[in-house]
Symmetry: C2
Subunit: 332 residues, 2 copies
């Protein structure tokens, strides 16, 4: 290739990497490259530079629209800077995840973005040279850059909106006790409801009766909702902390003939689910696409060698009001 253009290999390299080359020679190189369909060999480049232009993205569940959208965001951002993303599905399995991490090291990838399979068992200690960015969940005891979702804020948004819509007795169906995501969203609910009750001079203890822990699955949501409906004083709205449980909740409400918005329903979601039948569901949307985009941005800064303290970027959720939470009297 260098010979074809009548220049040295060094000059060709400079043309493709933005070095200083006279316009005339640069053009000659480009023309020859086009003719010969030459494209720089990325493997040789990676060997020489001790770093490839591939970013590993390890996520726990590739079928989950949330992570899928995250991957899209990462991909778009990477492509713009001429990096490529290799997608790895850890399946929430720490062993499988470790194998992917090994590969990232062996392939001398430029960096890794990881939504860890386990907060405590995912081991990032070997990543001293290669930059890592955690997304969605931060592995314990690893100092890395991270991009997180402000789950508590989302819970606050959700609850405040239900109150504004005129609901008064609001319940919360959340995920497993002790799971970061569900606890944080629940905290948002508690904080806003607590303040509301305090203003009214009401007893904070009633709050506890309206909280149910479930399992993030449709069945768990249905059971919890049935349980709430059986209360002496059932709630007039419910904040469900993920959309899978919301499916079960809606089913329970349909069976009980108390469909939203008579009972308000608001869930955490954010990625378009194909046609949940019935009234359209209000949600607090997760910034999944931006999570991926931001993670790549952070990673590329590290890759380019910027020395700076590790940082955590927290992205906000956004409230999407649809018909399931318009108010208890809107549809008499």
């Amino acid at each position: 290739m260098a010979r074809a253009a009548g220049v040295s290999a060094a000059t060709v390299s400079r043309v493709f990497n933005g070095g200083r080359v006279t316009a005339e020679r640069a053009e000659r190189v480009l023309r020859s490259a086009a003719e010969l369909r030459f494209a720089p060999n990325r493997v040789a480049r990676a060997l020489r530079m001790q770093r490839s232009s591939v970013i590993g993205l390890i996520i726990p569940d590739i079928e989950n629209p949330y992570f899928n959208s995250l991957a899209r965001g990462a991909e778009d951002a990477a492509q713009r800077k001429n990096f490529s993303i290799v997608l790895c599905n850890s399946d929430l399995n720490v062993d499988k995840e470790r194998r992917y991490l090994d590969t990232a090291l062996a392939e001398q990838m430029a960096g890794v973005i990881i939504a860890a399979a386990s907060r405590s068992h995912t081991d990032l200690s070997r990543f001293t040279e290669m930059p890592v960015v955690a997304v969605d969940r931060r592995p314990l005891g690893a100092t890395v850059d991270a991009v997180m979702v402000d789950n508590q804020h989302g819970g606050e948004q959700a609850t405040a909106h239900l109150l504004r819509s005129g609901y008064r007795r609001i319940a919360c169906i959340t995920g497993p006790e002790g799971a970061a995501v569900s606890e944080e969203r629940l905290t948002g609910f508690r904080v806003v409801m607590g303040e509301h009750l305090r203003e009214l001079g009401q007893d904070q203890a009633q709050l506890r009766d309206l909280i149910r822990y479930a399992d993030f699955q449709p069945d768990g949501g249905r059971t919890a909702m049935c349980d709430l409906l059986a209360l002496e004083e059932p709630p007039d709205a419910v904040f469900v902390t993920n959309d899978l449980m919301a499916v079960g909740v809606l089913e329970a409400l349909r069976v009980a003939d108390r469909e939203p918005p008579r009972i308000g329903v608001l869930s955490f979601g954010g990625v378009p689910r194909t046609s949940l039948v019935g009234p359209s569901l209000s949600t607090v949307d997760l910034p999944s696409y931006d999570l991926g985009r931001t993670a790549v941005g952070l990673l590329l800064e590290r890759i380019s060698g910027k020395e700076k303290p590790h940082q955590t970027v927290v992205l906000q959720t956004s409230l999407q009001v649809r018909s399931s939470s318009v108010g208890p009297t809107a549809c008499p």
Copy 2:
């Protein structure tokens, strides 16, 4: 590393690649490697061998459980031979797909497995050196190995089963006219029904009244089913050629209060969908996992340099009988 073990680099290489080395020296190498946490540099290896141990897997929709399962099959098979898979989501977009194909070339991947975004516009002409295996759909005018699904056989299985269950007036809701997958499944239906009618000495023309083309989406399935139910002589069973449309069909039947198995329903599917409510759906299952596994097998044979004519492997579907097709009288 070679120095640490007191041997030459060549010996280290042989230890890691199954060359002939005396047990004593091999052990010494392995021990040093463990101590130093040494792992061979795959980039250098790829440069030297002019071929990496990465296989590109390009699929049109990562969220689709079918392709997801295919990816798992490919991954498991590759892992067993020390290859890794990089997953690329083309999003049914030919441009995006072409960028991935460029990357595969530039990264000197070992090979590519592709479920093409377009049968006519996906251009594989540049892949003269690098082996390619087509899965699920074969790009037009490319001579490559391929792994396909026997859709027609699936349609035949489905229809024959409905007949065996005692249904007599069987309809078919299929995908868009001209789409390979839906046409092939429909052919299976036509062939079996045609033979059945001929045996009975009945008019073949009535077949056409019972066929509806839809769009592979739930809404299309619902509309088509409503249309069929409005016939003077409505069908007593329906073969739906994908599971998305089956969702709409079941909804239409519920609304009409003619739930299966009173009207038999059998759809194409094969990857566990999360809890379709109602009676469990009989399906013709696609061999998605094996599709991925087989494609990797074929690719690795090519990679290892076997010269042989290009071949197409066709995998069979499998009938899963559940309650939606047990027969018109089973639940009087």
